[in-house]
Symmetry: C2
Subunit: 328 residues, 2 copies
Protein backbone atom coordinates (compact mmCIF):
# COMPACT_ATOMS: atom_id res chain seq x y z
CA UNK A 1 0.00 0.00 0.00
CA UNK A 2 1.47 3.35 -0.98
CA UNK A 3 1.46 6.36 1.31
CA UNK A 4 -1.10 8.17 -0.80
CA UNK A 5 -3.35 5.10 -0.84
CA UNK A 6 -3.07 5.00 2.95
CA UNK A 7 -4.00 8.66 3.18
CA UNK A 8 -7.15 7.99 1.15
CA UNK A 9 -8.18 5.07 3.42
CA UNK A 10 -10.82 5.82 5.99
CA UNK A 11 -9.05 6.48 9.27
CA UNK A 12 -10.18 7.07 12.85
CA UNK A 13 -7.69 9.93 13.16
CA UNK A 14 -10.19 12.75 12.67
CA UNK A 15 -12.56 11.12 15.17
CA UNK A 16 -9.86 11.05 17.84
CA UNK A 17 -8.75 14.54 17.01
CA UNK A 18 -12.35 15.71 17.49
CA UNK A 19 -13.05 13.72 20.66
CA UNK A 20 -9.94 15.29 22.20
CA UNK A 21 -10.47 18.77 20.71
CA UNK A 22 -11.77 20.02 24.07
CA UNK A 23 -8.20 19.64 25.35
CA UNK A 24 -7.15 22.45 23.03
CA UNK A 25 -9.68 24.74 24.65
CA UNK A 26 -8.65 23.70 28.15
CA UNK A 27 -4.94 24.06 27.39
CA UNK A 28 -5.29 27.55 25.95
CA UNK A 29 -7.56 28.70 28.75
CA UNK A 30 -5.15 27.30 31.35
CA UNK A 31 -2.21 29.04 29.70
CA UNK A 32 -4.10 32.34 29.59
CA UNK A 33 -5.08 31.97 33.26
CA UNK A 34 -1.47 31.19 34.21
CA UNK A 35 -0.38 34.12 31.99
CA UNK A 36 2.20 31.90 30.30
CA UNK A 37 2.28 34.07 27.19
CA UNK A 38 3.19 37.25 29.03
CA UNK A 39 5.81 35.34 31.03
CA UNK A 40 7.46 34.04 27.86
CA UNK A 41 7.30 37.50 26.32
CA UNK A 42 9.09 38.82 29.39
CA UNK A 43 11.89 36.28 29.04
CA UNK A 44 10.95 33.23 31.13
CA UNK A 45 11.44 30.71 28.34
CA UNK A 46 12.24 27.34 29.94
CA UNK A 47 9.71 25.07 31.65
CA UNK A 48 11.55 25.59 34.95
CA UNK A 49 11.58 29.39 34.69
CA UNK A 50 7.94 29.48 33.59
CA UNK A 51 6.85 27.16 36.39
CA UNK A 52 8.55 29.42 38.92
CA UNK A 53 7.15 32.59 37.37
CA UNK A 54 3.57 31.28 37.02
CA UNK A 55 3.36 29.30 40.26
CA UNK A 56 2.74 25.97 38.54
CA UNK A 57 4.48 22.57 38.66
CA UNK A 58 7.36 22.09 36.26
CA UNK A 59 5.84 18.86 34.87
CA UNK A 60 2.54 20.61 34.23
CA UNK A 61 4.18 23.66 32.70
CA UNK A 62 6.40 21.60 30.43
CA UNK A 63 3.51 19.43 29.21
CA UNK A 64 1.26 22.45 28.73
CA UNK A 65 3.90 24.41 26.79
CA UNK A 66 4.70 21.39 24.62
CA UNK A 67 1.03 21.03 23.84
CA UNK A 68 0.75 24.74 22.99
CA UNK A 69 3.72 24.26 20.68
CA UNK A 70 2.02 21.36 18.93
CA UNK A 71 -1.15 23.37 18.34
CA UNK A 72 0.75 26.41 17.09
CA UNK A 73 0.77 29.02 19.89
CA UNK A 74 4.45 28.59 20.82
CA UNK A 75 7.62 27.44 19.15
CA UNK A 76 10.30 25.34 20.88
CA UNK A 77 14.01 25.27 20.20
CA UNK A 78 16.54 23.56 22.45
CA UNK A 79 14.12 23.39 25.39
CA UNK A 80 13.25 27.11 25.14
CA UNK A 81 9.79 28.35 24.20
CA UNK A 82 9.00 31.43 22.12
CA UNK A 83 5.71 33.12 21.26
CA UNK A 84 4.20 32.53 17.82
CA UNK A 85 3.33 35.77 15.95
CA UNK A 86 -0.37 35.37 16.88
CA UNK A 87 0.44 34.80 20.56
CA UNK A 88 2.78 37.79 20.72
CA UNK A 89 0.10 40.12 19.37
CA UNK A 90 -3.06 38.69 20.93
CA UNK A 91 -2.08 36.77 24.09
CA UNK A 92 0.82 38.66 25.69
CA UNK A 93 -0.87 41.12 28.07
CA UNK A 94 1.81 43.71 27.29
CA UNK A 95 0.50 43.91 23.71
CA UNK A 96 -2.12 46.63 23.07
CA UNK A 97 -4.10 44.15 20.94
CA UNK A 98 -4.13 41.50 23.66
CA UNK A 99 -7.47 39.68 23.75
CA UNK A 100 -6.69 37.25 26.56
CA UNK A 101 -9.76 38.48 28.45
CA UNK A 102 -12.01 37.14 25.68
CA UNK A 103 -11.36 33.61 26.85
CA UNK A 104 -13.48 34.29 29.93
CA UNK A 105 -16.47 35.09 27.82
CA UNK A 106 -16.18 32.36 25.25
CA UNK A 107 -15.80 29.73 27.88
CA UNK A 108 -18.41 30.91 30.34
CA UNK A 109 -21.23 31.95 28.04
CA UNK A 110 -21.26 28.96 25.79
CA UNK A 111 -20.69 26.43 28.52
CA UNK A 112 -23.35 27.94 30.68
CA UNK A 113 -25.69 27.82 27.73
CA UNK A 114 -24.87 24.24 27.01
CA UNK A 115 -25.61 23.08 30.51
CA UNK A 116 -28.65 25.17 31.35
CA UNK A 117 -31.82 23.11 31.29
CA UNK A 118 -34.09 25.33 29.25
CA UNK A 119 -33.89 28.98 30.23
CA UNK A 120 -32.32 31.14 27.58
CA UNK A 121 -29.19 32.41 29.27
CA UNK A 122 -28.45 35.18 26.84
CA UNK A 123 -31.59 37.22 27.14
CA UNK A 124 -32.49 37.05 30.82
CA UNK A 125 -32.84 40.59 32.22
CA UNK A 126 -29.67 42.02 33.70
CA UNK A 127 -27.70 38.78 33.34
CA UNK A 128 -24.30 39.70 34.83
CA UNK A 129 -22.67 37.67 32.04
CA UNK A 130 -23.14 40.68 29.79
CA UNK A 131 -20.94 42.88 31.94
CA UNK A 132 -18.18 40.31 31.57
CA UNK A 133 -18.93 40.22 27.87
CA UNK A 134 -18.83 43.98 27.48
CA UNK A 135 -15.43 44.18 29.09
CA UNK A 136 -14.00 41.16 27.29
CA UNK A 137 -15.15 41.80 23.76
CA UNK A 138 -14.36 45.50 23.44
CA UNK A 139 -10.79 45.04 22.13
CA UNK A 140 -11.96 42.52 19.52
CA UNK A 141 -14.68 44.75 18.20
CA UNK A 142 -12.49 47.79 17.50
CA UNK A 143 -11.68 46.67 13.97
CA UNK A 144 -15.26 45.83 12.88
CA UNK A 145 -16.38 49.12 14.47
CA UNK A 146 -13.86 51.01 12.34
CA UNK A 147 -15.07 49.18 9.23
CA UNK A 148 -18.66 50.14 9.96
CA UNK A 149 -17.68 53.78 10.47
CA UNK A 150 -15.97 53.72 7.08
CA UNK A 151 -18.88 51.93 5.39
CA UNK A 152 -21.33 54.59 6.67
CA UNK A 153 -18.91 57.42 5.84
CA UNK A 154 -19.12 58.72 9.39
CA UNK A 155 -16.20 61.03 8.65
CA UNK A 156 -18.42 63.08 6.30
CA UNK A 157 -19.63 64.69 9.52
CA UNK A 158 -23.37 64.98 8.87
CA UNK A 159 -25.60 65.63 11.88
CA UNK A 160 -26.58 62.12 13.02
CA UNK A 161 -28.85 60.68 15.64
CA UNK A 162 -27.51 57.17 16.33
CA UNK A 163 -29.34 54.47 18.30
CA UNK A 164 -27.05 51.65 19.51
CA UNK A 165 -29.22 48.65 20.47
CA UNK A 166 -27.68 46.17 22.92
CA UNK A 167 -24.68 48.46 22.97
CA UNK A 168 -22.59 46.30 25.33
CA UNK A 169 -19.11 47.80 25.51
CA UNK A 170 -20.47 50.58 23.32
CA UNK A 171 -17.59 50.47 20.84
CA UNK A 172 -19.81 50.63 17.75
CA UNK A 173 -21.66 53.80 18.68
CA UNK A 174 -18.56 55.33 20.25
CA UNK A 175 -16.54 54.74 17.08
CA UNK A 176 -19.19 56.48 14.98
CA UNK A 177 -19.13 59.40 17.42
CA UNK A 178 -15.33 59.58 17.27
CA UNK A 179 -15.33 59.78 13.48
CA UNK A 180 -18.35 62.05 13.23
CA UNK A 181 -18.25 65.02 15.63
CA UNK A 182 -21.88 65.76 14.63
CA UNK A 183 -23.13 62.36 15.86
CA UNK A 184 -25.17 61.94 19.04
CA UNK A 185 -25.54 58.41 20.37
CA UNK A 186 -28.31 56.83 22.43
CA UNK A 187 -27.20 53.46 23.83
CA UNK A 188 -29.69 50.77 24.92
CA UNK A 189 -28.70 47.91 27.20
CA UNK A 190 -29.05 46.71 30.80
CA UNK A 191 -28.04 49.42 33.28
CA UNK A 192 -24.97 47.56 34.59
CA UNK A 193 -23.69 47.06 31.05
CA UNK A 194 -24.25 50.70 30.13
CA UNK A 195 -21.86 51.64 32.94
CA UNK A 196 -19.12 49.90 30.92
CA UNK A 197 -20.21 51.66 27.72
CA UNK A 198 -20.29 55.07 29.43
CA UNK A 199 -16.80 54.58 30.80
CA UNK A 200 -15.62 53.70 27.30
CA UNK A 201 -17.38 56.78 25.89
CA UNK A 202 -15.66 58.90 28.52
CA UNK A 203 -12.26 57.41 27.63
CA UNK A 204 -12.94 58.06 23.92
CA UNK A 205 -13.82 61.70 24.62
CA UNK A 206 -17.40 61.45 23.37
CA UNK A 207 -19.28 61.25 26.69
CA UNK A 208 -20.94 64.63 26.03
CA UNK A 209 -22.73 63.18 23.00
CA UNK A 210 -23.51 59.82 24.60
CA UNK A 211 -26.75 59.03 26.39
CA UNK A 212 -27.66 55.78 28.16
CA UNK A 213 -31.17 54.35 27.81
CA UNK A 214 -31.36 51.38 30.17
CA UNK A 215 -33.78 48.48 29.63
CA UNK A 216 -34.81 45.74 27.23
CA UNK A 217 -34.61 46.63 23.53
CA UNK A 218 -38.04 45.06 23.19
CA UNK A 219 -39.59 47.30 25.85
CA UNK A 220 -37.90 50.72 26.13
CA UNK A 221 -39.18 53.69 24.14
CA UNK A 222 -36.48 54.45 21.55
CA UNK A 223 -37.83 57.86 20.48
CA UNK A 224 -37.58 58.64 16.76
CA UNK A 225 -35.84 60.56 14.01
CA UNK A 226 -32.70 58.39 14.04
CA UNK A 227 -30.32 58.40 11.07
CA UNK A 228 -28.59 55.18 12.07
CA UNK A 229 -29.69 52.24 14.25
CA UNK A 230 -26.93 49.77 15.18
CA UNK A 231 -27.91 46.10 15.62
CA UNK A 232 -24.56 44.50 16.24
CA UNK A 233 -24.37 40.82 17.22
CA UNK A 234 -27.94 40.91 18.50
CA UNK A 235 -30.47 39.40 16.10
CA UNK A 236 -28.85 35.95 16.25
CA UNK A 237 -30.30 35.44 19.75
CA UNK A 238 -33.93 35.30 18.59
CA UNK A 239 -36.26 33.58 16.18
CA UNK A 240 -37.37 35.35 13.00
CA UNK A 241 -40.78 36.42 14.33
CA UNK A 242 -39.20 38.03 17.40
CA UNK A 243 -36.67 39.81 15.19
CA UNK A 244 -39.40 41.12 12.91
CA UNK A 245 -41.24 42.56 15.90
CA UNK A 246 -38.07 44.38 16.98
CA UNK A 247 -37.32 45.52 13.43
CA UNK A 248 -40.79 47.07 13.13
CA UNK A 249 -39.92 49.11 16.22
CA UNK A 250 -36.51 50.00 14.75
CA UNK A 251 -38.14 51.02 11.48
CA UNK A 252 -40.53 53.34 13.34
CA UNK A 253 -37.61 54.96 15.15
CA UNK A 254 -35.69 55.75 11.93
CA UNK A 255 -36.26 58.84 9.86
CA UNK A 256 -37.13 58.28 6.16
CA UNK A 257 -33.97 57.08 4.39
CA UNK A 258 -32.40 56.15 7.73
CA UNK A 259 -30.35 52.96 7.94
CA UNK A 260 -30.33 49.90 10.19
CA UNK A 261 -26.79 48.51 10.48
CA UNK A 262 -26.65 44.80 11.33
CA UNK A 263 -23.35 43.07 12.17
CA UNK A 264 -23.64 39.29 12.12
CA UNK A 265 -22.08 35.97 11.23
CA UNK A 266 -23.97 35.28 8.00
CA UNK A 267 -23.54 31.81 6.50
CA UNK A 268 -24.22 31.09 2.85
CA UNK A 269 -27.54 29.49 1.97
CA UNK A 270 -26.00 26.01 2.24
CA UNK A 271 -25.50 26.84 5.96
CA UNK A 272 -22.13 25.03 5.99
CA UNK A 273 -19.89 27.72 4.43
CA UNK A 274 -17.93 29.82 5.22
CA UNK A 275 -16.88 27.78 8.25
CA UNK A 276 -16.58 30.44 10.99
CA UNK A 277 -19.94 32.02 10.21
CA UNK A 278 -21.69 28.68 9.71
CA UNK A 279 -20.28 27.19 12.91
CA UNK A 280 -21.72 30.05 14.90
CA UNK A 281 -25.12 28.42 14.59
CA UNK A 282 -24.02 25.75 17.09
CA UNK A 283 -23.10 28.43 19.64
CA UNK A 284 -26.63 29.77 19.33
CA UNK A 285 -28.06 26.25 19.69
CA UNK A 286 -26.12 25.86 22.94
CA UNK A 287 -26.69 29.34 24.33
CA UNK A 288 -30.22 30.29 23.22
CA UNK A 289 -33.66 28.73 22.95
CA UNK A 290 -34.44 29.95 19.43
CA UNK A 291 -31.39 31.82 18.06
CA UNK A 292 -29.48 31.01 14.89
CA UNK A 293 -26.92 32.22 12.36
CA UNK A 294 -29.29 33.48 9.67
CA UNK A 295 -28.53 33.64 5.96
CA UNK A 296 -28.72 36.91 4.04
CA UNK A 297 -32.02 35.97 2.32
CA UNK A 298 -33.47 35.28 5.78
CA UNK A 299 -32.33 38.65 7.11
CA UNK A 300 -33.48 40.38 3.92
CA UNK A 301 -36.95 38.90 4.42
CA UNK A 302 -37.11 39.94 8.11
CA UNK A 303 -36.20 43.52 7.22
CA UNK A 304 -38.64 43.60 4.28
CA UNK A 305 -41.47 42.28 6.47
CA UNK A 306 -40.64 45.00 8.99
CA UNK A 307 -41.04 47.75 6.37
CA UNK A 308 -37.47 48.32 5.12
CA UNK A 309 -37.17 49.05 1.41
CA UNK A 310 -33.83 47.36 0.70
CA UNK A 311 -30.96 45.46 2.33
CA UNK A 312 -27.40 44.98 1.08
CA UNK A 313 -24.60 42.83 2.54
CA UNK A 314 -20.98 43.95 2.96
CA UNK A 315 -18.00 41.77 3.93
CA UNK A 316 -15.49 43.40 6.27
CA UNK A 317 -12.37 41.22 5.93
CA UNK A 318 -10.39 39.95 7.74
CA UNK A 319 -13.31 39.81 10.21
CA UNK A 320 -15.52 36.78 9.58
CA UNK A 321 -18.55 38.98 10.31
CA UNK A 322 -20.58 40.81 7.67
CA UNK A 323 -22.56 44.04 7.72
CA UNK A 324 -26.12 44.30 6.43
CA UNK A 325 -27.31 47.85 5.59
CA UNK A 326 -31.10 48.15 5.49
CA UNK A 327 -32.72 51.38 4.33
CA UNK A 328 -36.08 52.60 5.64
Amino acid sequence: MTTSAQAAQPSPERIFETLTAFQQTEALRSAIELDIFTAIGEGATTAAALAHRCGASERGTRILCDYLTIIGFLTKEGGRYSLSPDSAVFLDRRSPACMASVSQFIGSAVRKGGTTESADVTTAPDDPMWVTFANAMAPMMRMPAERIAALLDAAAGKPWKVLDIAAGHGMFGITLARHNPQAEVVAVDWAAVLAVAKANAQAAGVAGRYRALPGSAFEVEFGNGYDVVLLTNFLHHFDAATNEKLLHKVNAALKPGGRAVTLEFVPNEDRVTPPVAAKFSLTMLAATDHGDAYTFPEYEKMFRNAGFSSSTIHPIPPSPGQVILSVK
Copy 2:
Protein backbone atom coordinates in the same frame (compact mmCIF):
# COMPACT_ATOMS: atom_id res chain seq x y z
CA MET B 1 -2.84 44.98 1.34
CA THR B 2 -2.74 41.82 -0.78
CA THR B 3 -4.47 38.61 0.19
CA SER B 4 -1.20 36.83 0.87
CA ALA B 5 0.03 39.74 3.00
CA GLN B 6 -3.23 39.49 4.96
CA ALA B 7 -2.73 35.78 5.47
CA ALA B 8 0.72 36.45 6.91
CA GLN B 9 -0.66 39.05 9.34
CA PRO B 10 -1.15 37.91 12.93
CA SER B 11 -4.83 37.03 13.31
CA PRO B 12 -7.03 36.04 16.24
CA GLU B 13 -8.60 33.31 14.12
CA ARG B 14 -6.62 30.44 15.60
CA ILE B 15 -7.32 31.70 19.12
CA PHE B 16 -11.07 31.65 18.48
CA GLU B 17 -10.87 28.31 16.78
CA THR B 18 -9.11 26.93 19.85
CA LEU B 19 -11.37 28.56 22.44
CA THR B 20 -14.34 26.99 20.66
CA ALA B 21 -12.67 23.65 19.89
CA PHE B 22 -14.57 22.03 22.77
CA GLN B 23 -17.71 22.46 20.65
CA GLN B 24 -16.29 19.94 18.18
CA THR B 25 -16.03 17.38 20.94
CA GLU B 26 -19.50 18.12 22.23
CA ALA B 27 -21.05 18.03 18.76
CA LEU B 28 -19.49 14.68 17.88
CA ARG B 29 -20.40 13.16 21.23
CA SER B 30 -23.98 14.41 20.89
CA ALA B 31 -24.27 12.99 17.39
CA ILE B 32 -22.92 9.62 18.55
CA GLU B 33 -25.35 9.59 21.49
CA LEU B 34 -28.27 10.45 19.20
CA ASP B 35 -26.96 7.81 16.74
CA ILE B 36 -27.18 10.31 13.89
CA PHE B 37 -24.60 8.44 11.82
CA THR B 38 -26.49 5.15 11.84
CA ALA B 39 -29.72 6.98 11.06
CA ILE B 40 -28.16 8.66 8.01
CA GLY B 41 -26.66 5.35 6.92
CA GLU B 42 -30.13 3.84 7.11
CA GLY B 43 -31.59 6.53 4.88
CA ALA B 44 -32.88 9.33 7.12
CA THR B 45 -31.02 12.12 5.35
CA THR B 46 -32.96 15.37 5.95
CA ALA B 47 -32.99 17.33 9.21
CA ALA B 48 -36.71 16.61 9.57
CA ALA B 49 -36.32 12.86 9.04
CA LEU B 50 -33.31 12.68 11.35
CA ALA B 51 -35.05 14.66 14.06
CA HIS B 52 -38.01 12.27 13.92
CA ARG B 53 -35.77 9.19 13.87
CA CYS B 54 -33.46 10.37 16.71
CA GLY B 55 -36.08 12.00 18.92
CA ALA B 56 -34.48 15.45 18.75
CA SER B 57 -35.73 18.89 17.73
CA GLU B 58 -35.50 19.75 14.04
CA ARG B 59 -33.64 23.02 14.80
CA GLY B 60 -31.10 21.17 16.95
CA THR B 61 -30.67 18.36 14.45
CA ARG B 62 -30.22 20.73 11.52
CA ILE B 63 -27.66 22.87 13.36
CA LEU B 64 -25.82 19.80 14.64
CA CYS B 65 -25.68 18.17 11.19
CA ASP B 66 -24.54 21.41 9.56
CA TYR B 67 -21.76 21.67 12.14
CA LEU B 68 -20.74 18.04 11.53
CA THR B 69 -20.61 18.88 7.82
CA ILE B 70 -18.35 21.85 8.46
CA ILE B 71 -15.93 19.75 10.51
CA GLY B 72 -15.89 16.93 7.95
CA PHE B 73 -18.03 14.09 9.32
CA LEU B 74 -20.94 14.60 6.92
CA THR B 75 -21.49 16.06 3.47
CA LYS B 76 -24.56 18.10 2.50
CA GLU B 77 -26.18 18.42 -0.88
CA GLY B 78 -29.56 20.04 -1.50
CA GLY B 79 -30.53 19.83 2.17
CA ARG B 80 -29.66 16.10 2.39
CA TYR B 81 -26.83 14.79 4.55
CA SER B 82 -24.52 11.87 3.69
CA LEU B 83 -21.82 10.12 5.71
CA SER B 84 -18.18 10.95 5.01
CA PRO B 85 -16.00 7.88 4.33
CA ASP B 86 -14.62 8.01 7.91
CA SER B 87 -18.10 8.26 9.43
CA ALA B 88 -19.45 5.40 7.32
CA VAL B 89 -16.68 3.06 8.50
CA PHE B 90 -16.19 4.19 12.11
CA LEU B 91 -19.41 5.86 13.32
CA ASP B 92 -22.30 3.96 11.71
CA ARG B 93 -23.14 1.20 14.22
CA ARG B 94 -23.94 -1.18 11.37
CA SER B 95 -20.25 -1.11 10.34
CA PRO B 96 -18.08 -3.88 11.84
CA ALA B 97 -15.32 -1.30 12.44
CA CYS B 98 -17.64 1.08 14.29
CA MET B 99 -15.86 2.71 17.22
CA ALA B 100 -18.72 4.91 18.42
CA SER B 101 -18.39 3.36 21.89
CA VAL B 102 -14.90 4.84 22.24
CA SER B 103 -16.40 8.28 22.71
CA GLN B 104 -17.64 7.21 26.14
CA PHE B 105 -14.14 6.47 27.26
CA ILE B 106 -12.36 9.44 25.81
CA GLY B 107 -14.87 11.82 27.28
CA SER B 108 -15.26 10.26 30.70
CA ALA B 109 -11.69 9.31 31.52
CA VAL B 110 -10.00 12.50 30.57
CA ARG B 111 -12.69 14.77 31.91
CA LYS B 112 -12.84 12.90 35.16
CA GLY B 113 -9.09 13.21 35.39
CA GLY B 114 -9.16 16.86 34.62
CA THR B 115 -11.62 17.67 37.38
CA THR B 116 -10.44 15.34 40.11
CA GLU B 117 -8.67 17.24 42.84
CA SER B 118 -5.59 15.09 43.31
CA ALA B 119 -6.34 11.38 43.38
CA ASP B 120 -4.99 9.58 40.37
CA VAL B 121 -8.11 8.33 38.65
CA THR B 122 -6.43 5.83 36.42
CA THR B 123 -4.76 3.60 38.94
CA ALA B 124 -7.24 3.38 41.80
CA PRO B 125 -8.03 -0.29 42.53
CA ASP B 126 -11.01 -1.68 40.68
CA ASP B 127 -11.99 1.69 39.20
CA PRO B 128 -15.16 0.83 37.20
CA MET B 129 -13.92 3.17 34.48
CA TRP B 130 -11.67 0.37 33.29
CA VAL B 131 -14.59 -1.92 32.51
CA THR B 132 -16.01 0.80 30.28
CA PHE B 133 -12.57 1.22 28.80
CA ALA B 134 -12.12 -2.49 28.14
CA ASN B 135 -15.39 -2.67 26.24
CA ALA B 136 -14.89 0.57 24.37
CA MET B 137 -11.31 0.20 23.22
CA ALA B 138 -11.34 -3.41 22.02
CA PRO B 139 -12.37 -2.64 18.41
CA MET B 140 -9.68 0.04 18.13
CA MET B 141 -6.92 -2.20 19.36
CA ARG B 142 -7.49 -5.02 16.88
CA MET B 143 -5.13 -3.54 14.31
CA PRO B 144 -2.22 -2.79 16.68
CA ALA B 145 -2.70 -6.26 18.18
CA GLU B 146 -2.35 -7.81 14.74
CA ARG B 147 0.80 -5.76 14.11
CA ILE B 148 2.33 -6.96 17.35
CA ALA B 149 1.51 -10.59 16.50
CA ALA B 150 3.28 -10.12 13.17
CA LEU B 151 6.25 -8.33 14.75
CA LEU B 152 6.75 -11.21 17.22
CA ASP B 153 6.17 -13.83 14.50
CA ALA B 154 3.45 -15.47 16.59
CA ALA B 155 2.48 -17.55 13.56
CA ALA B 156 5.77 -19.50 13.83
CA GLY B 157 3.92 -21.47 16.49
CA LYS B 158 6.62 -21.88 19.15
CA PRO B 159 5.49 -22.88 22.64
CA TRP B 160 4.99 -19.57 24.40
CA LYS B 161 4.08 -18.48 27.89
CA VAL B 162 2.58 -15.00 27.54
CA LEU B 163 1.91 -12.57 30.41
CA ASP B 164 -0.52 -9.77 29.50
CA ILE B 165 -0.17 -7.00 32.11
CA ALA B 166 -3.17 -4.69 32.51
CA ALA B 167 -4.86 -6.82 29.87
CA GLY B 168 -8.07 -4.79 29.75
CA HIS B 169 -10.19 -6.09 26.87
CA GLY B 170 -7.48 -8.74 26.45
CA MET B 171 -7.13 -8.25 22.70
CA PHE B 172 -3.32 -8.23 22.70
CA GLY B 173 -2.85 -11.58 24.44
CA ILE B 174 -5.86 -13.08 22.68
CA THR B 175 -4.49 -12.10 19.27
CA LEU B 176 -1.15 -13.76 20.05
CA ALA B 177 -3.05 -16.90 21.12
CA ARG B 178 -5.11 -16.85 17.94
CA HIS B 179 -2.01 -16.70 15.74
CA ASN B 180 0.04 -19.11 17.85
CA PRO B 181 -1.83 -22.28 18.86
CA GLN B 182 1.11 -23.10 21.17
CA ALA B 183 0.68 -19.91 23.22
CA GLU B 184 -0.75 -19.87 26.73
CA VAL B 185 -1.79 -16.51 28.13
CA VAL B 186 -1.93 -15.27 31.72
CA ALA B 187 -3.87 -12.00 31.96
CA VAL B 188 -3.43 -9.55 34.85
CA ASP B 189 -6.01 -6.87 35.63
CA TRP B 190 -8.78 -6.04 38.08
CA ALA B 191 -11.26 -8.92 38.43
CA ALA B 192 -14.19 -7.03 36.87
CA VAL B 193 -12.08 -6.13 33.84
CA LEU B 194 -10.84 -9.69 33.40
CA ALA B 195 -14.46 -10.78 33.00
CA VAL B 196 -14.47 -8.73 29.78
CA ALA B 197 -11.16 -10.24 28.66
CA LYS B 198 -12.35 -13.79 29.38
CA ALA B 199 -15.52 -13.23 27.37
CA ASN B 200 -13.37 -11.98 24.47
CA ALA B 201 -11.06 -15.01 24.81
CA GLN B 202 -14.13 -17.27 24.70
CA ALA B 203 -15.41 -15.53 21.59
CA ALA B 204 -11.98 -15.88 19.94
CA GLY B 205 -11.88 -19.60 20.71
CA VAL B 206 -8.77 -19.42 22.95
CA ALA B 207 -10.41 -19.62 26.39
CA GLY B 208 -8.76 -23.01 27.05
CA ARG B 209 -5.34 -21.37 26.89
CA TYR B 210 -6.35 -18.20 28.76
CA ARG B 211 -5.96 -17.76 32.51
CA ALA B 212 -7.03 -14.73 34.57
CA LEU B 213 -4.77 -13.44 37.36
CA PRO B 214 -6.72 -10.72 39.16
CA GLY B 215 -5.01 -7.93 41.10
CA SER B 216 -2.58 -5.04 40.83
CA ALA B 217 0.34 -5.55 38.45
CA PHE B 218 2.53 -4.13 41.20
CA GLU B 219 1.38 -6.70 43.75
CA VAL B 220 0.32 -10.02 42.21
CA GLU B 221 2.81 -12.87 41.83
CA PHE B 222 3.42 -13.24 38.08
CA GLY B 223 5.21 -16.60 38.23
CA ASN B 224 8.13 -17.01 35.84
CA GLY B 225 9.47 -18.57 32.64
CA TYR B 226 7.52 -16.24 30.33
CA ASP B 227 8.56 -15.85 26.69
CA VAL B 228 6.59 -12.66 26.18
CA VAL B 229 5.32 -10.00 28.59
CA LEU B 230 2.85 -7.50 27.11
CA LEU B 231 2.90 -3.96 28.51
CA THR B 232 0.37 -2.22 26.30
CA ASN B 233 -0.70 1.35 27.05
CA PHE B 234 0.30 0.97 30.67
CA LEU B 235 3.66 2.55 31.52
CA HIS B 236 2.44 6.06 30.61
CA HIS B 237 0.41 6.15 33.84
CA PHE B 238 3.46 6.22 36.13
CA ASP B 239 6.69 8.03 36.83
CA ALA B 240 9.99 6.52 35.74
CA ALA B 241 10.94 5.14 39.17
CA THR B 242 7.60 3.33 39.49
CA ASN B 243 8.00 1.90 35.99
CA GLU B 244 11.51 0.67 36.77
CA LYS B 245 10.19 -1.14 39.85
CA LEU B 246 7.58 -2.88 37.73
CA LEU B 247 10.08 -3.64 34.97
CA HIS B 248 12.41 -5.35 37.48
CA LYS B 249 9.49 -7.60 38.35
CA VAL B 250 8.76 -8.18 34.64
CA ASN B 251 12.41 -8.99 34.01
CA ALA B 252 12.38 -11.56 36.78
CA ALA B 253 9.29 -13.21 35.28
CA LEU B 254 10.83 -13.56 31.81
CA LYS B 255 13.00 -16.50 30.77
CA PRO B 256 16.47 -15.59 29.41
CA GLY B 257 16.04 -14.11 25.93
CA GLY B 258 12.36 -13.41 26.67
CA ARG B 259 10.85 -10.17 25.44
CA ALA B 260 8.89 -7.33 27.00
CA VAL B 261 6.54 -5.79 24.43
CA THR B 262 5.59 -2.18 25.14
CA LEU B 263 2.92 -0.38 23.11
CA GLU B 264 2.95 3.37 23.68
CA PHE B 265 2.63 6.84 22.22
CA VAL B 266 6.32 7.73 21.96
CA PRO B 267 7.12 11.36 21.08
CA ASN B 268 10.45 12.40 19.62
CA GLU B 269 13.02 13.91 21.95
CA ASP B 270 11.74 17.43 21.19
CA ARG B 271 8.43 16.27 22.82
CA VAL B 272 6.41 18.24 20.29
CA THR B 273 6.50 15.81 17.32
CA PRO B 274 4.82 13.74 15.98
CA PRO B 275 1.64 15.54 17.05
CA VAL B 276 -0.62 12.66 18.12
CA ALA B 277 2.03 10.98 20.27
CA ALA B 278 3.30 14.27 21.72
CA LYS B 279 -0.22 15.53 22.55
CA PHE B 280 -0.85 12.40 24.60
CA SER B 281 1.30 13.90 27.34
CA LEU B 282 -1.49 16.37 28.14
CA THR B 283 -3.96 13.52 28.57
CA MET B 284 -1.60 12.05 31.17
CA LEU B 285 -1.24 15.43 32.86
CA ALA B 286 -5.03 15.61 33.18
CA ALA B 287 -5.66 11.98 34.11
CA THR B 288 -2.68 10.96 36.25
CA ASP B 289 -0.54 12.38 39.05
CA HIS B 290 2.82 11.43 37.54
CA GLY B 291 2.26 9.86 34.11
CA ASP B 292 3.70 11.07 30.81
CA ALA B 293 4.32 10.25 27.17
CA TYR B 294 7.95 9.12 27.43
CA THR B 295 10.54 9.33 24.67
CA PHE B 296 12.36 6.25 23.42
CA PRO B 297 15.63 7.17 25.21
CA GLU B 298 13.61 7.46 28.43
CA TYR B 299 12.02 4.05 27.94
CA GLU B 300 15.35 2.57 26.88
CA LYS B 301 16.90 3.81 30.13
CA MET B 302 14.05 2.43 32.28
CA PHE B 303 14.40 -1.01 30.69
CA ARG B 304 18.19 -0.91 30.97
CA ASN B 305 18.00 0.03 34.67
CA ALA B 306 15.60 -2.88 35.17
CA GLY B 307 18.07 -5.38 33.73
CA PHE B 308 17.08 -5.64 30.07
CA SER B 309 19.97 -6.01 27.61
CA SER B 310 18.53 -4.10 24.66
CA SER B 311 15.44 -2.21 23.44
CA THR B 312 14.37 -1.44 19.88
CA ILE B 313 11.47 0.69 18.63
CA HIS B 314 9.09 -0.27 15.83
CA PRO B 315 6.48 1.95 14.17
CA ILE B 316 3.19 0.24 13.31
CA PRO B 317 1.56 2.58 10.77
CA PRO B 318 -1.11 3.77 10.33
CA SER B 319 -1.44 3.55 14.12
CA PRO B 320 0.20 6.51 15.86
CA GLY B 321 1.47 4.11 18.54
CA GLN B 322 4.87 2.44 18.50
CA VAL B 323 6.13 -0.87 19.83
CA ILE B 324 9.26 -1.20 21.96
CA LEU B 325 10.78 -4.69 22.11
CA SER B 326 13.08 -5.17 25.10
CA VAL B 327 15.12 -8.36 25.45
CA LYS B 328 16.07 -9.88 28.79
